[in-house]
């Protein structure tokens, strides 16, 4: 059979035709910028929604500086998680255990702080735990060849189970008691003002995201990730070690989950084994809103972060205008709308 050359990407098509194809250009522009439009829309809606009660920028208004700072603080875990999650989705893999891994990290971190570890020691050990959890996921998926969804559902149950087992009977979380108080400085990481009113955890998340963006754009790992997700067979044939790469991606996600768990434990001053419930859903929503192809092969970390901020704006802003019991329905609808937008704009 003779080899055939197929022109796939829009850019090459343009080069061949020699002049810009306007409908294609419009489509590309919408595809690249709709996420920012959605963010602005969400912010505008929440800003205008309660104008009859609170004026612009006043205390209680959505755009009040204190509110924005608080929102960014709350957003730290989801930002931390969803950045690395994007890589996995680009490679056409998934990790449903991120929420449980985060909760287990939070429990471990709180447990160590409670038992007199220094911050640095506890942080390093938590990150090591994250590496172990990510490696286990990678091992199940890449070595034992268990379908990612099943393998990570198994570890979801496992990590959550371990977190529940660590918490002593009769308590709902690892927290300070009368005879063993939780050191007050556990809060500092996720609450103390470092710069512009934002805590260290926020800047750690930003550094992580910048690193992930740079890695995705400038290094071979980013290219290989896209290659694996775009066409696995072609990637294998061109000598990419997909097993090692995806395994590494799972480890990166594990480390992100550990960092997110630390931030959550520090923010809440306790290690709650259920604090990660639903984080995998929030991450998936953020990644899909951010326009990562669910068939793999393309996506951008920075857009996922915008998606994550939209998710947080929705969860926080929604509480101000409708009762809390609407939350699940709205987030489910957002997920389905994200799928539809994604399908209409991003997929070929």
């Amino acid at each position: 059979m003779e080899p055939t050359i197929q022109v796939e990407s829009g850019i090459e098509k343009k080069m061949l035709v020699g002049q810009p194809n306007w409908s294609e250009t419009v489509r590309e522009t919408v595809k690249n910028f709709y996420i920012y439009f959605v963010l602005v829309l969400v912010i505008v809606v929440f800003s205008v929604a309660r104008l009859n009660e609170v004026a612009f920028f006043e205390r209680g208004h959505f755009l009040n500086p204190d509110n924005i700072i608080n929102l960014l603080r709350i957003a730290v875990p989801i930002i931390t998680l969803s950045g690395a999650f994007t890589y996995l989705m680009i490679a056409q893999y998934i990790d449903l255990s991120v929420g449980s891994a985060m909760a287990l990290s939070a429990v471990l971190f709180a447990l160590m702080i409670l038992n007199g570890f220094s911050f640095i020691a506890a942080a390093i050990l938590t990150i090591i735990a994250g590496i172990v959890m990510g490696s286990l996921n990678g091992f199940l998926v890449m070595k034992l060849k268990i379908t990612p969804v099943i393998a990570t559902l198994v570890t979801l149950s496992l990590y959550k189970g371990i977190a529940l087992l660590i918490v002593p009977d009769g308590l709902s979380a690892i927290k300070g008691s009368a005879d063993q108080p939780m050191p007050a400085w556990i809060n500092n990481y996720a609450r103390q003002d470092v710069l512009f009113g934002l805590p260290a955890a926020f800047y750690v998340a930003i550094v992580l995201i910048v690193a992930l963006v740079v890695i995705q754009r400038k290094t071979i790992l980013g290219k290989y990730t896209a290659a694996i997700g775009g066409n696995r067979t072609a990637a294998d044939l061109s000598g990419i070690n997909a097993v090692a790469i995806v395994w590494l991606l799972y480890i990166i996600v594990g480390v992100s989950a550990a960092l997110a768990g630390m931030a959550r434990a520090s923010y809440m001053s306790m290690g709650d084994p259920l604090s990660g419930d639903g984080m995998e859903l929030a991450s998936i929503i953020a990644v899909l809103l951010g326009g990562t192809r669910f068939a793999g092969g393309a996506g951008a970390v920075e857009k996922t972060i915008i998606g994550a901020i939209i998710v947080i704006c929705m969860t926080v802003g929604m509480l101000t205008i409708i009762p809390a019991y609407w939350q699940t329905f709205v987030m489910g609808s957002v997920l389905i709308s994200a799928v539809v937008i994604n399908r209409l704009l991003v997929q070929d």
Partner: protein
């Protein structure tokens, strides 16, 4: 070729039975083994009362497992079943509650007759299945993402209708009948009988109908199935709707049992349904598995959890135990099947 045949006949498990029957028999063996071990170590385990409980306690997971198994065979997930249970239970209560009887909004419903209310609630459940099918079949979105979304939508509807709590007042007596009715002369609930009937029907569907056999072909190679003239879209749509309908039936039965529409009912059941299917040897690689295997898987799960409770392990153990059981099941089944192929 001949050498191959001889080798497969001589390999330690090579015989004439199909791979599915082989796995089912294997899991029955595992079940008996686990049961014996549990009977030896756990006090009061080997009593007729407990054995009956082991078989009947998990009826709702088994009903859900039927739909989930069928979809897994076609390489699709259905994670929305737990949400559908909550939604159907709450909606059936809401439809049947008397209208305008109280100041409390949670005590007022639509006042429909019982039968109409149940049918409407089941139709809503099928609507969720239709939504799943639409996204998976028409928009080609992976089922895992879609059904996570519809899980939240269904659960969300349950929470909105109950304002995040439950509806349990101004219900006619007839509402609580079917969930609590026992088979005459025993303590076994009618729901268990429904489960058994559904399992038998599912078994007949899977083994002896053209639709059932095509399901396996779709799972093994959906492109080949399409090219050989099977309407894959219609089959998948039917299966998604069946799965949601089964979840809806479960939801009505569970709501009737407590005579209340509780918005959090059925949380995590989607995971349990998946667990029993995987324990029973259903493969997500597609085209492989059986309802009987799933049934045995459900019994294994109930032996394991019941033994753990009997050994006075804290309930916190259940997550870890399920994870380990599924992991062992998947790895050992794929290992044995690869050995069997020779």
């Amino acid at each position: 070729m001949e050498a191959n045949e001889v080798r497969s006949r001589n390999s330690f498990i090579g015989s004439k039975i199909s791979n599915e029957s082989f796995i089912t028999f294997l899991m029955i063996g595992v079940l008996l083994l686990l049961f014996t071990v549990a009977a030896l170590f756990v006090p009061n385990f080997y009593t007729s009362r407990n054995i009956l409980n082991l078989i009947t306690n998990n009826w709702y997971i088994i009903i859900l497992g039927i739909g989930v198994t069928f979809l897994l065979i076609t390489k699709n997930f259905d994670l929305s079943v737990g949400g559908v249970i909550g939604m159907t239970g709450v909606l059936s209560v809401y439809f049947v509650q008397a209208a305008n009887v109280s100041q409390n909004p949670l005590a007022n419903g639509l006042g429909l007759p019982y039968g109409v209310a149940v049918v409407l609630a089941l139709m809503c459940a099928m609507g969720i299945g239709g939504l799943n099918a639409f996204f998976v079949v028409r928009l080609k979105v992976p089922s895992i993402i879609v059904t996570l979304g519809t899980m939240m939508v269904a659960r969300g509807i349950a929470q909105i209708v109950t304002q995040g709590a439950q509806r349990n007042t101004s219900l006619p007596d007839v509402y609580g009948v079917i969930g609590n009715l026992a088979i005459p002369g025993s303590q076994v609930k009618i729901a268990v009988l429904i489960m058994v009937v559904l399992v038998i029907l599912a078994f007949i569907f899977e083994r002896f109908t053209a639709h059932g056999r095509r399901m396996y072909l779709i799972g093994a190679n959906s492109e080949a199935a399409r090219l050989s003239g099977i309407n894959v879209s219609r089959h998948l749509t039917t299966l998604f709707i069946i799965s949601s309908l089964l979840a809806g039936i479960t939801g009505v039965l569970l709501a009737s049992e407590f005579k209340a529409g509780i918005s959090s009912r059925g949380m995590g059941f989607e995971f349990d349904a998946l667990v029993v299917a995987l324990l029973g040897g259903v493969s997500i690689a597609g085209g492989f598995g059986s309802v009987l295997g799933m049934f045995v898987g459900a019994l294994i799960l109930s032996v394991v959890t019941s033994a753990a409770t009997g050994l006075l392990l804290s309930p916190d153990w259940q997550f870890t135990l399920k994870a380990i059981a599924v992991f062992i099941a998947i790895v050992s089944q794929s290992y044995l099947l690869s050995r069997r192929k020779g």
